[in-house]
Amino acid sequence: MGFLAKNHMLAATDLVGVRGGRLLFDKLNFSLSNGTVLYLQGANGTGKTTLLRTICGLSKPYEGNVNWCGEDIHELAEDYYKHLLYIGHLPGIKEDLTALENLQFSLALSGTPFDLTQATEVLHLLGLAKGLNLPTRMLSQGQKRRVALARLWLQDLPLWVLDEPFTALDANATDMLKQKIEAFANEGGIVVMTTHQEVAMHVPKFEQLRLGA
């Protein structure tokens, strides 16, 4: 993959997260290089999503900063976003459009050209062959999740930020996603994710961070 050629680094320095006047995390430091999976743990309300959104630049940190390859992400702005693939707990899917139309749009937002054959193949792989031309309103929660996750197979970006990616997925899809994340990290990608499920990962570097401890 294209990003193998370059070393990437996502680092947080003295990150302080506050939400609704409550301190969520204090002076958080980490530095993730190629091939690292950072696995955020913590009970509900301990700031996992806030931290993910801060890493994405959607929320501004109360103090401290997040750096991508040594530069502040808020200064890089679009130059940072073109490396970032974020799948939040909201799927970002329009219920009136079909799975393919939704994919075409979410790929376009990050500047990736849409290849119909490739997209169809990935949706087949994810077990969505029957619902290709249905509005996603007709799909189940797990199937919508799969449509959102199909971007992971179609885009070539070096940083993934995934908020509860395994939610609503069945055992089969969970396995597929886990293998995809492992393959991605082995190729040099960086992943930051939260999940309540225990997943053992076989990746070059596996780090855990427990919030609210």
């Binding site: 294209g2 970002g92 219920e95 376009a108």
Partner: protein, 237 residues
């Protein structure tokens, strides 16, 4: 940074233009799948504006005298009806978050959302307003200027309205709040838009009012997307 991006993406990245086109096309595609939303605005305008000739008796002079203001106020209200929907569904399903972290400038994405709103709710009024104007005993010259002033004016309304829509995002019961925020800002558009048609009907040149309307539109075109993008960022924090 440009060398860097070529390394990252082996496939050629989409140009800004094609990304923006996709955003505009998707909004129109979604609207065509749920036509009732668009049709509601359109028919509100037709019905509400048609009530005036029925209610005010058959005095052609009175009708043509009040036509510019009635038609313009109705256009303004129907435009406002659909404002709260401009960003709310993208906000609810997480698309707005993805737009904020797109590799295109947020201001341009917001401008596309505004354009889509205008094409779906403002532009149809430009075509139907002259027909309604016939009910008000308006002459050919007045109808032409009515359409021209609405063409510029409705775009200005969508632009200015986007600020209200963005500021009230995520708040419950936004309808009245948007009206309070946006209606005062709509006053110049109404004054110059209706003023242009009034000028023609008393035999004066509409050019002055139309130029001022154009000035309002240019200002809105520059500042409204910036203000809306900033408001959206705050709404998503």
């Amino acid at each position: 940074m440009t060398e860097n991006s070529q390394e990252v993406k082996p496939a050629k990245a989409l140009s800004t233009f094609s990304v923006l086109y996709r955003i505009l096309a998707r909004d129109i595609q979604v609207a065509l799948r749920r036509q009732s939303d668009v049709a509601a605005v359109f028919f509100f305008f037709i019905i509400a504006a048609s009530l005036f000739p029925l209610g005010s008796g058959a005095d052609p002079k009175l009708l043509s005298a009040m036509a510019p203001s009635v038609l313009w106020v109705m256009a303004l209200l129907s435009c406002m009806l659909s404002l709260s929907r401009m960003f709310s569904s993208d906000y609810a399903d997480g698309t707005l978050e993805q737009m904020m972290i797109s590799n295109q400038p947020v201001v341009l994405i917001v401008l596309m959302k505004i354009l889509a709103h205008w094409i779906l709710s403002g532009l149809p009024l430009v075509f139907v307003a002259p027909l309604i104007g016939l009910q008000f005993n308006l002459g050919g010259a007045e109808l032409q200027i009515l359409a021209a002033s609405l063409l510029m004016g409705t775009l200005a309304l969508s632009l200015i309205g986007s600020i209200g829509a963005a500021l009230t995002l995520g708040i419950r019961g936004t309808g009245v709040l948007i009206a309070i925020l946006v209606l005062p800002l709509y006053i110049p558009v109404l004054v110059f838009g209706a003023g242009a048609v009034n000028a023609v009907s008393i035999g004066m040149s509409p050019n002055g009012a139309l130029s001022l309307l154009g000035a309002v539109l240019s200002m809105a075109l520059v500042f409204a997307p910036l203000a809306s993008a900033a408001a959206l960022k705050i709404a998503l924090e």
